[in-house]
Amino acid sequence: MQVQLNTIHKQFGSLVANDEISVQFEPGRIYGLLGENGAGKSTLMKILSGYQQPDRGEIVLNGAAQHFASPRQALAAGVGMLYQEPLDVPVFTVLENFLLGRAHDGERPQQSAKALTQLAGRYGFQVDPHEHTRELSMGERQQLELLRLLAGGAEVLILDEPTTGISAEQKDLLFASMRTLAREEGKTLILVSHKLDEVQELCDYAYVLRKGRLVGGVQLPCPNQELVDLMFDELAPRPARRQPASGDVLLHLQHITVRTPRLELEPVSLQLQAGQVLGLAGLEGSGQELLLRACAGLLPLSGGSLRLGGQPQPDWDYPRARQHGVAYLAAGRLEEGLIAGLTLTEHMALVSNAHGLLVDWPQNRQLAAQHIATYQVVGQPESYIENLSGGNQQRFLFAMLPQNLKLILMEHPTRGLDIRSTDWIWEQLDQRRAQGTAIIFLSADLDEIAARSDQIAVFSGGRLLRSVPAAETTADELGHLIGGAL
């Protein structure tokens, strides 16, 4: 199916997400849609898939103009989208998720289950219709969504950053099925990504967006530099990483285990030196989150021991961790970290350790203003935190961190941030590292882990598979490791 998007325009408040974008996609080919975070890729694809409506512009399928009021209508017309986080219902079984929204014509559930397994077999996927979706890996949930869209008659398939958080094997399987769909079944495929290598590997042609505008289309493969020049304004060169200071052992974990109803972390032992960066790699829910949260005192240890600076910590919990100079930054900034409804000044007063009964508002306002200047936050002391952009929220979170921390624990420190904020944040972390602060972070972005860590621990199925020095591995190798292949 041929797709034409003509002068699509979409504005959110004062932000122009799509500025008169016109692109065309031909059947039987795989397209890349490239751009930084916030370039407008997702908005454009949400418009094509009926999730959002454009302010202006039209969608033309095989020469006929279309108007989609909902994703259902788009799918009926042949356009299906696979969202970054699969839009399924986790408590439903695989079959229930397959059935939800499927035109049935009196089809019985057993027949649907059969149709599902047959379809899965065609693309080399394995599904158990009666398993609960929440028990599946991200990659499997993605496969299920893909099958649902195909069963719904999708001729145009949009995949939004599909390789984040899946293993290398699942990625290979996904790419193979995408090739089959385009080459053999003549479908139109669109891969939304900010990863150049993936697009080069898979796609025939790439459109590049920047700040809401279409800045070019390139026949692939082509030199990477060509794409980079299109995607980014001039970038300041990434500052060279400081060498890890060889400090004393700061954190010493011996055979620690963590137990939650969903997952058990099998005994983990490791050591971290002051100033060292430990990256935790693994599919979502492989145990790395448990380790990080246990170090923060947010989950109790069910076995083993934790020593900080040589001192055993038998009753480790979060307040104690804070007292000992351990900071924890969660992935969802507005859910876990900042408080919507409070101003920047109120945040400062909240974390200030002032002991008086009453708040000294002028002093806290001044403090907030200082931090805003130092950390280059776009905002005022009276701004409500939720009105800041994601990058500025993350900057302010860093501004609130106390000085002289021993250990910083982070989940997805740069998720959703543009490249400038990402570099800025790692620069800040580097400075703290030079002062002897150790860092443990987890990320779904294997490139980030490979580039920013000194040591990398790979998790699979609740086990620490392997701990390797970062210099001895690559993102690609990590991709194969996290799938559980040894």
Binding site: Y51, Q52, S70, P71, R72, Q73, L75, Y83, L87, D88, V89, P90, V91, F92, E96, L99, L100, G101, H104, R259, P261
Partner: protein, 324 residues
Amino acid sequence: MDSTQLIAIFGSILLQSAPLIIAVCGETISERAGVINLSLDGSLLLSALAGFAAALLTGSLLLGFLAAAAVGAVFALIVAFGSLHLRQNQVAIGFVLAMLGDSLSAFLGQNYTRLPGPSVPAWHIPLLKDIPVLGPILFRQDAVVYFALLLVGATWWFLFRTRAGLELRSAGERPEAAFTRGVAVRKLRYIYAVLGGALVGIAGAAYSLDVKIGWAEGHTRGMGWIALAIVIFGGWSPLRGALGAVLFGATKALATVLQRSFPQVALVAFNAVPWLLMILVLVLVSGRLAAPLLARAPAALRRPLRGLLQAAPPAALGQPLDDN
């Protein structure tokens, strides 16, 4: 106590629990679709009055039940409108309606207090009523009890075995996913909130026309809150919810029986049983107690135990809808 007495007690427990079962089913439907209707206590009171007054004035039981259902539906509609269209807090609206229903029933009911009125006649089902033990308990009842029993099965079947039920649950679990699959989330939430409210209304009339015949101020006061707690205890399943309602009815019946053999003062203690029970079961099904218990249980037992003890509410329960 001989067996006939025991069977009579079981029969009366079922009768006493019937309105609660109906209300629990109604609220379960509403909450599964994502709408908390906290107005139940006021809604039950006003619908009990409406049912009684309408049946008394028209002489028709059916019109009584219909009037009651309409009252319950209107209360639910207000909650749904306030939260789905005006994006206001469901809990606040529900609470105010609970209070308002109480005062409205007190004011409007002042001329209906302790009047004799119509009641649902017993209706023994031929053949089935002669089954030993089960016959007298289950089939020598009246239409309200049969309706409650059928409603439990029908609600369960609808929620978990039909496509419409699948769509209903998706609206309460993950509305954005439901939306991408063409489910009209807002419309469904309206429909099922109002349907659930109508069932609550019918439960109100079941009190005033059958189980606790007549009207007096505060006639069903407290039962709405108990029904809401039973929905939680029931883990948002009509089967477990009905079980909870019957257990609740049984402790009340037990209290009534024991009360005869104890002096006057102990009556207070028996009246306290439902509320103590409410606290107890809510502690029991809350994650705080269940999670450590489950973690210690042998692996083989963990899954069935989790099914029995833990109950996660619908993930999007009470959350406003996001229109892009």
